[in-house]
Amino acid sequence: MADFSFDSSTALNTYRSVFAPTLRAQQEALKTVERFSRYQFAVATDYFEWGVAQAKASLDLRTPAELTASQTTLATQFGEKLQGRVREFVNLTTEAGSSFTQLLGETTAKVAEAIKKSA
């Protein structure tokens, strides 16, 4: 009977090294998904705050001029917030694109190195 010596730790290390680029890509993707989720959560919170502030301003019921002024102020604040969120989204997208580009370059370099070594 043949003697099979199976080492689980060696197998796991081999598996890790083989799938290292894939794992790193998954980790980067997870980071990006987490960032975008947090961003969406923040935008939803902004909308929630805006709605609550609008309802409060409508229920204050002073003169129509004051009501219009408060609505204008709220709209201006929300517009500025949304502008900031748009800038944040652009930054997030740029960072995600650059990180994936860097990951792709590193992976390609590693594969080329491995091919060169094997050749």
């Binding site: 980790q27 309802a55 003169t63």
Partner: protein, 216 residues
């Protein structure tokens, strides 16, 4: 004498007089009133009232418009003081003077609907609290999911993976327990505030009814 009468062709009185049917003057010129008729026409309505009723000429004559006519004449019913002429409408003399103050009306509306407004404010506060609570719970779930995904992608030993999963589950359980306590507190506060509001509204209504009863 008799011949002269014959030669002259003098017509007898009763038979050859002017015929009303063939006379042109009688057909075109209207009949003149009798000598006493003008006196009746120019007479005021008061005089007419004392006139005999059986005279047809006097009955058909319209009553003259006179400033000194009795009260029951139509000329006295439509007095100029009550008629809105365009000049009077333009000057605004005939329109009633309405003293409408929008601020006073707005204040009255505010005073009448004050309990409803306060109830709406309390409801808005409660909705805001529950909305923030739900956002917090959603944030907790987001954190837990991200931490689980990170722990799965670290790829340590199975024992480390199990330990990290157990630690994450414990943390999440503690967080959820805290959220449940927070929810119970929120519900209790909301109920207490609404009960207080209802009591104040009932007391205010009873006070108003008592005051109106005392006034009447």
């Amino acid at each position: 004498m008799a011949s002269s009468v014959k030669a002259g062709g003098q017509a007898p009185n009763g038979r050859r007089g002017p015929k009303t049917g063939t006379n042109v003057a009688a057909r075109t010129i209207p009949a003149q009133p009798e000598p006493e008729a003008p006196a009746v026409v120019d007479a005021p309505a008061v005089v007419e009232a004392s006139a005999p009723v059986d005279t047809p000429a006097r009955v058909d004559t319209p009553a003259p418009v006179d400033a000194a006519a009795p009260v029951d004449t139509p000329a006295r019913v439509d007095t100029p003081a009550l008629v809105d002429t365009p000049a009077r409408i333009r000057s605004g003399a005939g329109t009633p003077h309405l003293n409408f103050n929008p601020r006073a009306a707005f204040d009255a509306y505010r005073g009448a609907l004050a309990p409803t407004l306060r109830a709406q404010r309390e409801a808005l506060k409660a909705i805001e609290c529950f909305g923030r609570y739900q956002y917090s719970v959603a944030g907790d779930y987001l954190e837990w999911g991200a931490a689980q995904a990170k722990a799965n992608l670290k790829l340590g030993t199975p024992a480390e993976l199990t330990a990290s999963q157990a630690a994450l589950a414990t943390q999440f359980g503690a967080k959820i327990q805290g959220r449940v306590r927070e929810f119970v507190n929120l519900a209790s506060e909301t109920r207490a505030s609404f009960n207080q509001l209802l009591g104040e509204m009932t007391a205010g209504l009873a006070e108003t009814i008592k005051q109106s009863v005392n006034k009447s």
